[in-house]
Amino acid sequence: MGEEVKVFRTWSSPFALRVVWALDLKGIKYETIYEDLSNKSPLLLQYNPIHKKVPVLLHNSKPIAESLVILEYIEDTWKHRPLLPQDPHQRANARFWIKFGEDKVFPAVRDSLLKQGKEQEEAHEAALESFKLLEEELKGKKLFGGEEIGMVDIALGWLANLVSVLEEVLVLKFIDEHKFPLLSAWMRLFADIPVIKQSWPPRDKLVTKYIAIREARLATN
């Protein structure tokens, strides 16, 4: 059966990368469509009218939006090389950590980039607190998924890419090797997996991009 799979993304979106990784890990062939978010295509607006964002997965003409929803869809549709455990309690645990990443880790890191002064300090503190919990969760494991990458690794994988970029841009330490040995080791291991390594956006472009975002924020205040 000819399957049509398309991924709408930007070159840098960490959320879109999750979809790319999941499809690549499962060996699914797809077409990539790069969006310019300052000039969104009619197709993107048609496929994701509610949020108007990337990523969007198009499978046999049906669109799915929201990266974590897309990950579950990919898991439901292509059942080989599972990204979630079979046991319901372990699945619930995986989903808990994915949600923790979205609700706690990501906003704290994002606000460290976007805020200043006391607000930035608080965001940075919150980020460090969240890393402590991730460090605990990694005890006895190489990857969040155990021996192999799972959905939690994919959901948190943006850390392995962006933390060092933001540390450079903000001149602020997030994941110190000595404070977070397991998390540091996880980032290195994750980043080195061939499927992951091959899709990292160019680092210099990312540094330039985030410097620009930071400067724009500072200028508006």
Binding site: H59, I64, V69
Partner: protein, 216 residues
């Protein structure tokens, strides 16, 4: 083997209610333990040390947290009865998308309606109505968000109906006037026994909010 199912919850919580609804739909017997959130019990703190929040489902000694994660867990474990998800992956994705919308957009929009005043409240009310209309649009002419049968999105949203009187009273608005189809859906859901016994009484919730705000 007898299952031991315990729910740590707080009677007025729309998140805790989601779990009650799911358990009732599946006909699961469980022990309900009301939690005092101002004076958290050792059990709650031990079971959910990270967030220290309700609801927490404890199944044969193992805790599960986050209401929608718990609902998915319940659906997976007690899969023989009243499935909350369709079997088609695309429809499952749609259900996840809309439940996420309820959490990300709708839940957030309710706050400003009853906790703010003046311009901020007016803006909050406008957003709240807009979001409700989007949800009403998604419901369309279906009896439930899940289609012919009550499903995951219905569970995620219906529990907020216990708080409608709070939003209407403090926001000075009528949800029925703005979204009649949505209110019709609420009434339809409440005809189900699983819901009528799981949802907190709207008037009692309003009373609680007034009491907490020192308005008695």
């Amino acid at each position: 083997m007898a299952d031991e199912v315990i729910l740590l919850d707080s009677w007025a919580s729309m998140f805790g209610m989601r779990v009650r609804v799911a358990l009732a739909e599946k006909g699961v017997n469980y022990e309900y333990k009301e939690q005092d959130l101002k004076n958290k019990s050792p059990l709650l703190l031990q079971m959910n040390p990270i967030h220290k929040k309700i609801p927490v489902l404890i199944h044969n000694g193992k805790p599960i947290f986050e209401s929608l994660i718990i609902v998915q867990y319940i659906d997976e474990v007690w899969h023989d009865k009243a499935p909350l998800f369709p079997s088609d992956p695309y429809q499952r994705a749609q259900a996840r998308f809309w439940a996420d919308y309820v959490d990300k957009k709708f839940n957030v929009s309710t706050r400003k309606v009853w906790t703010t005043k003046g311009e901020e409240q007016e803006a909050g009310k406008k957003e709240f109505i807009e979001v409700l209309k989007v949800l009403e649009g998604e419901l369309g002419d279906k009896p439930y968000f899940g289609g012919q049968s009550f499903g995951f999105v219905d569970v995620s949203l219906i529990t907020f109906s216990s708080w409608f009187r709070v939003y209407e009273t403090f926001g000075n608005l009528s949800i029925e006037k703005e979204c009649p189809k949505l209110i019709a859906w609420v009434k339809r859901c409440k005809e189900k026994e699983s819901l009528s016994k799981s949802l907190a009484d709207e008037n009692k919730v309003l009373e609680l909010v007034r009491k907490n705000l020192g308005m008695e």
